[in-house]
Structure formats: structure tokens, C-alpha cells
Symmetry: C2
Subunit: 290 residues, 2 copies
């Protein structure tokens, strides 16, 4: 059983799960709630600073709020580590800085000791009209808020010892402003934390539509092609841990400032259009435990 | 640096921390948010069932909502384990049962893999008048919602292989109903997850008062004295991981149905009255990493 299968089992047992956040109706609006686990071994390569860890742990949850068109309100950070000497101040200031940028407040958390560093961030948000993974209609444009390959490139730089640039790439800005604008425009939305391919499959499945992606339209981060000369598109499609928003929008509502068009919703199947040929896009990517 | 010192450093850096929950003003009411880490090594002795683990992880967070006089709304459960075979169904149903008993809903979570089992529950609640640790006045009665020693006794039973009764004790019911009634009556409140002694110190410090506890008035769980013939009161005072509510209340508002009177608020110091003598109650207890 890998992580995706686990999450599917949770979704089967927990009816409110299955979107980037849980949605809790609250008077005339909705509260959004999401939690994310990060581990030293799988999420923070050697050279990651405590500040970057704190930032990224929080940003991952804020990205889930953004993906539903929500306004971030408050964040909790629970953290467990073998020891805390030197770790806490950077971790807290990174977490607080990521909150501040997104207009949220770090309001509390929990700390203790364990063999491995584990960070668990929880974000609370609010959305009058949450945008879900379900809602795309055939004919909608499929769009992306920004370039692909950020984490693939960052890990490449970590492995080469280019730590400053690697840490900078790791401290991504969740697409909160974009998400708030898209709340009134998008028909379906998801962040691509599991990679573009798997995220596209999740959105298609939830919406009951197909998606066709144009490989030539995929925006790649500057430096990705140089780092991975033969497999930049492969990384862009499957690598995961990117935190752009993937959304569908009716053609008449699209403006170029909202993001790059990378394809469109069709009646069924998830397809990659490349070199004049259309082939099924496999539902694979990066997954803990796979 | 032990866990309490860590938490004090968080409180210094995060102004909203320092109560059982973060309090977020929300229109005419308040949202409450709390998160708790539990680890296999320190929190779940051999023989703890997955159902009990799920229940207890959720109950620990719901107890924080109860401790502020809040109504639990929603819970997230993030969990990491070396493997998931056989663990997930019990964990989820225990978590859901604890939510249901408290009137909350399990709305989502996150799952992945790590060397040690780690559970992180987050609870969202609501309180029109949150009861804080600050607010006790000299002369208020000091009261407790129920008996002491539950976790001390449960661990004793786990060590003796009396697993069914140990698991039953471990699955405590957070004092949600009591907390809701006390929201209109108590001047200060805290759950005694860190032990009665330390919790009393935290409440006294936040309120700027002293507390005097009468050893003879301490309610002990049936079986505690038999399990620990020479140190039952010691366990009751310092053991921790009890989840009763400790609260102060003006004498005129007290009714016996609210809980047992164990002392009163005084001008300064935290004292234990025993055998006609008053001695300072040390600020110690059970703490991760100490």
C-alpha cells in the first residue's frame, strides 16, 4: 500500500476528505482545515536550513488553502525532533515569515522529542465559495499558475551543494492571491503537490471529465532543462512537490494574467499531446512509500 | 531543554499560544484551534490497540477544546507509521468514535510512512466565551471534574498484561459537556494533561494568583491506591496524562455537580495542605525529554 492508496482509504472512510482541505460550512461562509506531515528523511535534504524547514512546512498547508480559493487565517505547527539545540529559532521564524506573507498568523503548536524530525502544519482558512476538485466541464481551459520543476531543481541543487539557491527554491510562495482571484472564476482547482500528472488525474476523476495536456505548453522553471537535459518534461509531469495551482476555467472567463493555458477539459481520459500525437498520461508520480 | 521549556519558548515567540488552545476572534464568537503530537515510544505502551490509539490521539485534542469551554467542531488526524497493515481501520474507527462522542466530526488528515508511529491530531472548536488559564481570583474555589491517576493506573495495567482494562482506561472521555457548562461559571480553566501539580502552577502563573490544594480532598481513581500503595497521592499529583479539568470558580457559583473542590485560590504560592501542614507544591511532573 503506498501513500496514494492510503489516502484513498481515508477518503472512503471520511466523507469530508478528498479535497485539498476539509470544508466545514460555517454560517454564510465555510471554514477550511488541512494538515500535512513532513519528515526529515523524505522532505528535507541535507543542507536545508531550519528557516527553510519552518517556511516550507507552513507553505505546504497554506497551498492547500490557496487551492480551494481560501483566505488563510491561522496556522499551527507541531514539531518533533531528536534535539532542539539551534533548531527552534530558525524553524519558528521561517514558519512565521511564511504565515505573514500569506496574511495568516502562527497561533500555536506542539513540540516534543523523537528519533526523526517530523513537522506537522495545520492551516485554517475561510472561503465563501470553496473551489473543489469537482466542477470542471468539457471545453473548460486547463491552466497552471506558474512554472513546473521547482522541487526537482531544488533537490538537484542540494545534491550539488548549491545550498543557498536550493533553499531559496524550497521556500516557495503559496499561490494565495491567485487562489482568491480564481475563487470567482475557476470551475475546479487543486494544487500539484503530488505532481502534475497525478493531480490532473485526481481533478479529472473528481470532476467526471477527461483532460488533455499539451506538452509544448508546459511552463518549465528556468534552469530545469539545463539540470535535466533529457528529462525536463518528465520531471515537470511526474516529479511532484510543486505547489502551483492547476485549475479549469470556462474559455470566456480566461485572462492571461490568471495563468498559463496547458490544455483543456475533454469528455474522458487523461491525455498528453506531444509531437502531433496524443497518448494516455499515466497516473504516476512521486509518492511516499511507493 | 525539556518539553516544558520548549513550550515556554514557543509562547514567548508566538503571542497567541499559552492556553490549551489558540483563540481566534471570529465575528461574535471565537474559533479554538489545538494540535497534539503522540508517539509510539512515549505514548502507546505495547498492547495498546489501534482503536485505542486513534481514540486517544483525538481525545487529547478534544480535551484542549473542553478546557476552554469550547464546543468541538472538527478534527484532523495526521499519522505516520513504518507500515499500515492492520493499523488503519482500527485507528480510524477509534478516532471517529471519539469524535462522535464529543459531537465533532473527523474531517480529514494526512498519512505517510516513518520509522516510528506518530499521531498528530488537530481539533477545531468554537466558544462564545473562552475560559482561559488567566482569570482566577483569590478566594475562588479550586475544583477538579473527576478522579486522578487514570494514566498511571492504565500503564500499571499494561505492564501487568491486563490489556483490556488498560485500553479501556486509556480511552478517556474528554470533559466536553462539563467544559461547556463551566464556560459560564469558571474564572480560569486548564486540563491537567501535564499533571495536577504542573497544571496548577500554569494556572496560578497565568492568573497571577496562588493556589492551595488539600491533599485529603484529592479524588483518586478506584484501584490507584491498590496499584501504588505507598505513592498513590504522588502519582495523582505528578504523573500527568490525566485529562480532567482543573478550574476556579467563585464560591457563590459552585454546585457539587460541577466537580470536586480540592482547594482554593490564594494570593501567592502553590501549596499542598497535608496532615495539618502547608508545604510548597513543587512544579514538577512528567515531561517528554526531562
Amino acid at each position: 500500500m503506498n501513500e496514494w492508496e492510503l489516502l484513498e482509504r481515508i477518503e472512503a472512510a471520511v466523507p469530508a476528505a478528498g479535497d485539498d482541505c476539509a470544508v466545514i460550512p460555517w454560517g454564510s461562509t465555510h471554514l477550511l482545515l488541512t494538515t500535512d506531515l513532513l519528515h526529515q528523511a523524505s522532505d528535507f535534504p541535507p543542507g536545508t536550513t531550519p528557516y527553510t524547514m519552518g517556511w516550507r512546512a507552513v507553505a505546504v498547508s497554506l497551498s492547500d488553502i490557496a487551492a480551494m480559493g481560501g483566505r488563510p487565517v491561522a496556522v499551527l505547527l507541531a514539531a518533533s525532533a531528536p534535539g532542539w539545540g539551534g533548531l527552534l529559532p530558525g524553524l519558528l521564524s521561517g514558519a512565521q515569515a511564511a504565515c505573514e506573507e500569506a496574511g495568516a498568523e502562527l497561533v500555536g503548536g506542539d513540540l516534543d522529542f523523537s528519533r526523526e524530525l517530523v513537522l506537522v502544519s495545520t492551516a485554517l482558512g475561510e472561503a465563501s465559495r470553496p473551489v473543489r476538485r469537482a466542477g470542471a466541464k468539457p471545453g473548460d481551459l486547463l491552466c497552471l499558475t506558474g512554472p513546473l520543476g521547482r522541487t526537482a531543481l531544488a533537490l538537484h541543487l542540494f545534491s550539488r551543494g548549491e545550498l543557498e539557491e536550493a533553499n531559496r527554491l524550497f521556500r516557495f510562495s503559496p499561490r494565495v492571491e491567485e487562489g482568491l482571484i480564481l475563487a470567482d472564476l475557476a470551475t475546479a482547482m487543486i494544487d500539484i503537490s503530488d505532481g502534475l500528472a497525478h493531480s490532473a488525474h485526481l481533478l479529472a476523476r473528481a470532476s467526471g471529465v477527461g483532460l488533455e495536456i499539451d506538452a509544448a505548453a508546459l511552463p518549465l522553471l528556468p534552469g530545469l532543462a539545463a539540470a535535466f537535459p533529457d528529462e525536463a518534461v518528465e520531471k515537470a509531469l511526474y516529479y511532484g512537490e510543486d505547489y502551483e495551482l492547476l485549475f479549469t476555467i470556462p474559455k470566456g472567463r480566461y485572462r492571461s494574467a490568471l495563468g498559463r493555458v496547458i490544455g483543456e477539459a475533454v469528455s474522458s481520459g487523461v491525455w498528453l499531446q506531444a509531437g502531433g500525437k496524443r497518448r494516455p498520461l499515466p497516473d504516476r508520480g512521486w509518492s511516499h512509500g511507493s
